[in-house]
């Protein structure tokens, strides 16, 4: 079949161009001709089981399903001829036989494909007077509500699990009248993309559980926005009623999120309206945070900024803040004479700052991820960290590509790994150096011996026409990040593949571009600020107990400094340490711009009204600039801010090359027992941590300490028993979980989860004993 060839078909008398192999429905869809359908979906395989799309085709004795009829040159089809109409109406009548028609109590009402198609193709009355079947529903977790009596067996949800999510959890059991869609054995579905079946389901069988009975489709106003919880920047529609976000759903953007969004992006809006959301500015008076008027809070903040010694002023900004916020914050700081600003809050190793790439990014476009022949993931649970990037990588595996990992935990993936090296955090350096050695690349001073597995990984990378070495979030929080990065760089160069980073938050690439880093001007990094201490510290969207590498050190810093927190929620530590709290608009409530991991600059407007007296952070920063008598802080809109930021950035040049390749020594040494930190997928930021639905899924972190069976028995610990973890001065008692994914001599106790604030940095020597 030649690629370029086009053929002509005639549909309803209109001549249409098509390419061979296309299904008729694709051609009519492209031409805007309506063909009713339920089971067909452009991103799923063809099942042709609903028969709703029947059309008349010349020379065919019976109507044919448009979704499963390949076009042929000269083919003539009619979508609304009497024969086609009769077939469509007949199908509709049969589909409604067992459908409960409970639209008034169904959440899908008003946005239901069955309702719409029934309006067009159904009869006003039903000839079916017999009893309808009733199907019992399983509880499949906190995200998806099930009413299987409404199911029309289109199997979209089943095919989604098989083809996109990569784990088949739903299936069609039974046969004929007894067929039902479900999990068979009741359990929570565990896919990180599971929420997409809510959109796929054409009826009200699968609906959003948190959104259930909250609003009707016609009461909602739809706005476009960009999701803020990973580096993809998925395009979303935000549905708002009475100035409140009611839900978020995906918006098609083939180059970014195709038609999907992750569960994290879908359900994190639930964190917006929690008890601890800040409604008014607060000021510490007589040791207590008291609500005050904006005027006073701003004046006091500006006063503090003006009087503090600039060398002892610093700012920490979350990597999920907008480009505008970051630009203004760094401008504020720099005009005040300080370069102490950082967004790399979870990074532990700053020895490589001089080598930092100019604009770290994925190293490839998202679409290119599908074409890799070999990918080496270093310290990454890509599946849960960046679900839609992982989806692209999975496509490369289905096309025959290989994925290999070097990880401190044997994370599960929804595709086969052709090689995996799982070891304690300190071993990651050795493994990576082993691969470098196998390639004959510089091992950055690490004593490396290449075993068979290192050899195999090296060969796969070398043989790949297109490949990628990707440093994940676990690598970036690793105490030897600079070394891992250098080794990965050497490997990528030797094997002639791309080097990529998956940064934290929605705007890690933007943060670097906007200058939310200390190096342009020789300021202090997070580590530097912790070491030197500060007199005044600005926090923007940071929850200090959970968002930083070393909470214990951070507590020390905050204790000694005057703290101005621009934040959406009032966390316990802010309550304890902040001197001024300024409530700001959360994501979805403010306008702004994110630069995603492939460098797309995506701007969005605010959707819902900020809660209480919260104001967009860019406005707060602008006023602070004005009140602190700084130059050029007059902006009319966030667009002005963006324009200025973009002007100073100039052309966006994504660049992962290391400016300096001098090696550092490994700092993490093998100890008897090491802690494995990192942040679980549903603990990444303030909103996500507050989304109760996400927390109750299997991926929500359950307060526990994970060790391997060997380690448990060596220490005399039992699965389910209590254990005390000691790290430095800190200690915590939690239930023990024996977990086969954890390597020996390690305890998996992440950062960013309740209890982690009592401990120091995520990777360190620890001790563990029975409580």
């Amino acid at each position: 079949m030649s690629e370029q060839q086009t053929i002509t078909v005639e549909v309803d008398g209109k001549k249409l161009e098509a390419s061979p192999g296309q299904m008729l429905i694709e051609v009519t869809d492209a031409a805007g001709i309506t063909v009713p359908r339920f089971c067909y979906h452009k991103k799923l395989s063809v099942a042709a089981n609903c028969r709703m799309c029947l059309v008349e085709v010349e020379n065919a004795p019976k109507p044919l399903p448009a979704c499963a009829t390949p076009v042929a040159d000269g083919m003539k089809a009619w979508t609304c001829s009497p024969l086609a109409r009769q077939a469509q109406k007949g199908t509709m009548e049969f589909l409604l036989i067992n459908h409960p028609l409970d639209c008034p109590i169904c959440d899908q009402g008003g946005e239901c494909e069955l309702q719409d198609v029934a309006m067009g193709f159904g009869e006003g009355i039903s000839r079916f007077a017999e009893a309808k079947r009733v199907v019992a529903s399983h509880n499949i977790g906190p995200l998806i509500a099930t009413d299987m009596t409404r199911c029309i067996h289109c199997t979209r949800c089943v095919r989604f699990g098989d083809e996109v999510a990569g784990i088949r959890e739903l299936g069609a059991t039974g046969r004929g009248e007894h067929m039902k869609i479900g999990v068979y054995v009741e359990r929570s579905v565990s896919s990180e993309l599971s929420g997409n079946v809510i959109d796929l389901c054409p009826v009200g069988a699968l609906t959003s559980k948190p959104f259930r009975y909250r609003a009707r489709a016609w009461e909602l106003t739809q706005y476009d926005s960009v999701a803020a919880h990973d580096g993809v920047g998925s395009n979303i529609h935000v549905h708002v009623r009475n100035h409140q976000v009611m839900r978020t759903v995906p918006k098609d953007n083939e180059a970014v999120n195709e038609t999907w969004i992750s569960d994290r992006d879908r359900f994190s809006y639930l964190g917006l309206y929690t008890e601890d959301r800040l409604l008014k500015p607060m000021l510490r008076q007589d040791g207590q945070l008291q609500e005050v008027e904006w005027q006073q809070a701003l004046l006091e903040s500006a006063e503090l900024l003006k009087t503090v010694d600039a060398a002892r002023l610093g700012a920490l900004v979350s990597p999920g803040s907008t480009l505008e916020e970051m630009h203004l914050l760094q401008k504020l700081l720099r005009e005040l004479g300080s370069n102490n600003i950082d967004h790399r809050l979870r990074q532990a190793d700053f020895r490589g700052d001089a080598a930092d790439p100019a604009a770290p990014w994925l190293g490839q476009s998202f679409a290119d991820l599908e074409n890799n022949e070999a990918v080496l993931l270093v310290g990454s649970w890509l599946r849960k960290d960046q679900p839609l990037l992982n989806h692209r990588v999975r496509k490369s595996v289905l096309a025959g590509g290989q994925v290999m990992v070097i990880n401190p935990v044997d994370y599960d993936f929804n595709y086969g790994l052709s090689n995996k090296l799982i070891g304690a955090p300190a071993d990651m350096v050795a493994h990576l150096a082993g691969v470098a050695a196998a390639l004959g690349a510089d091992t950055a001073g690490v004593d490396a011996s290449a075993g068979a597995e290192h050899q195999a990984i090296a060969e796969a990378l070398k043989a790949a026409a297109k490949g990628l070495v990707l440093l994940g979030s676990m690598a970036q929080v690793h105490p030897d990040f600079s070394l891992l990065r250098l080794l990965a760089n050497n490997i990528a160069q030797a094997a002639n593949v791309d080097l990529g980073f998956v940064g934290e938050g929605a705007n890690s690439t933007g943060a670097k571009l906007a200058g939310a880093v200390p190096h342009s001007g020789g300021g202090l990094s997070v580590a530097g600020m912790l070491k030197q201490g500060l007199d005044a510290c600005i926090l923007l969207n940071v929850e200090p107990e959970f968002d930083v590498a070393n909470p214990v050190a951070m507590a020390g810093l905050l204790n000694g400094a005057k703290v101005v927190a621009l934040t959406t929620h009032l966390s316990p530590w802010l309550l304890e340490y902040a001197d001024l709290v300024l409530p700001v608009a959360a994501t979805l409530e403010t306008s702004g711009t994110f630069v995603n991991l492939q460098g797309d600059l995506q701007s969005f407007n605010g959707t819902a009204r900020p809660v209480g007296e919260a104001r967009p952070a860019w406005k707060v920063l602008r006023v602070l600039g004005n009140l602190a008598d700084l130059e050029d802080f007059d902006y009319e809109s966030s667009q002005d801010v963006r324009d200025e930021a973009l002007q100073s950035i100039g052309e966006i040049k994504l660049d992962n090359s290391l400016a300096d390749t001098s090696a550092v020594a490994a700092s993490l040494i093998s100890t008897e027992l090491q802690r494995i930190g990192g942040v679980p997928p549903y603990s990444v930021d303030m909103l996500v941590r507050r989304s109760s639905a996400l927390q109750h899924t299997p991926d929500g972190w359950k307060a526990s300490l994970h060790v391997s069976a060997d380690t448990a028995s060596q220490l005399g610990l039992m699965d389910g028993g209590s254990a005390v973890l000691r790290q430095g001065e800190g200690e915590i008692t939690l239930p023990l979980v024996v977990d086969g994914r954890v390597p020996p001599a390690c305890v998996w106790m992440p950062s960013g989860v309740p209890g982690s604030e009592l401990l120091g940095e995520g990777f360190a020597a620890v001790s563990l004993e029975k409580a």
């Binding site: 083809e163 784990i167 739903l170 059991t173 068979y184 054995v185 565990s190 086969g416």
Partner: protein, 181 residues
């Protein structure tokens, strides 16, 4: 749907295949697996379900189905789908003799209702139930392809055709006697 086996389709850890079934069962299943290309090994699921069911006294449990899933690198739900689709698989305990009565069109026209009535009366159970002594299970099935001899039923591997209440009695009598021996 991609029906091809995807060994990676299950996220959790695979059990060691050797521990899943006894060597004989594995050998039997492997014979079937060998008939298909490697990546189509899940085609052996029907045979595997039969083999395992026979070995387990005529019925399957969820655990056994999960083991088959593990053995053939399939998602468990895909095994449940097959096991619930075909009427020859039993998902709960059955009697020593499973009587599968056809009530499909030809048999219905030739009086399968009488046969069912008679069976229900004689055994004191309804369709879908098992006698208290665990000897007989009564099951309604669709056409077994023996319409020429309708009405009919199947017990074990044996078809019995052109049934009458008297014939049914004599068949059951002889089965009861066999059991007594």
């Amino acid at each position: 749907m991609t029906l091809r086996c995807e060994p990676w389709a299950r996220a959790d850890k695979r059990a060691d295949k050797e521990t899943l079934f006894s060597p004989q069962i594995r050998a039997e299943i492997d014979q079937w697996v060998a008939k298909y290309p490697d990546e189509w090994k899940q085609s052996a699921v029907m045979a595997s379900l039969r083999i395992v069911q026979d070995d387990n006294g005529g019925y399957l449990t969820r655990e056994l189905m999960d083991r088959i899933a593990d053995y053939l690198d399939m998602p468990p739900i895909a095994v449940y789908e097959v096991a619930t689709f075909y009427s020859m698989y039993e998902l709960s305990e059955v009697g020593a003799h499973k009587i599968c009565v056809c009530t499909n069109v030809s048999c219905m026209i030739c009086g399968s209702e009488n046969i069912v009535d008679h069976l229900e009366k004689r055994l004191g159970i309804k369709l879908g139930q098992t006698t208290e002594d665990g000897k007989f299970t009564l099951k309604e099935v669709e056409c077994l392809g023996a319409c020429g001899g309708a009405p009919m039923f199947q017990i074990g591997k044996q078809y019995y055709e052109n049934l009458t209440p008297e014939l049914v009695d004599s068949i059951l009598d002889s089965l009861e006697q066999d059991n007594g021996e």
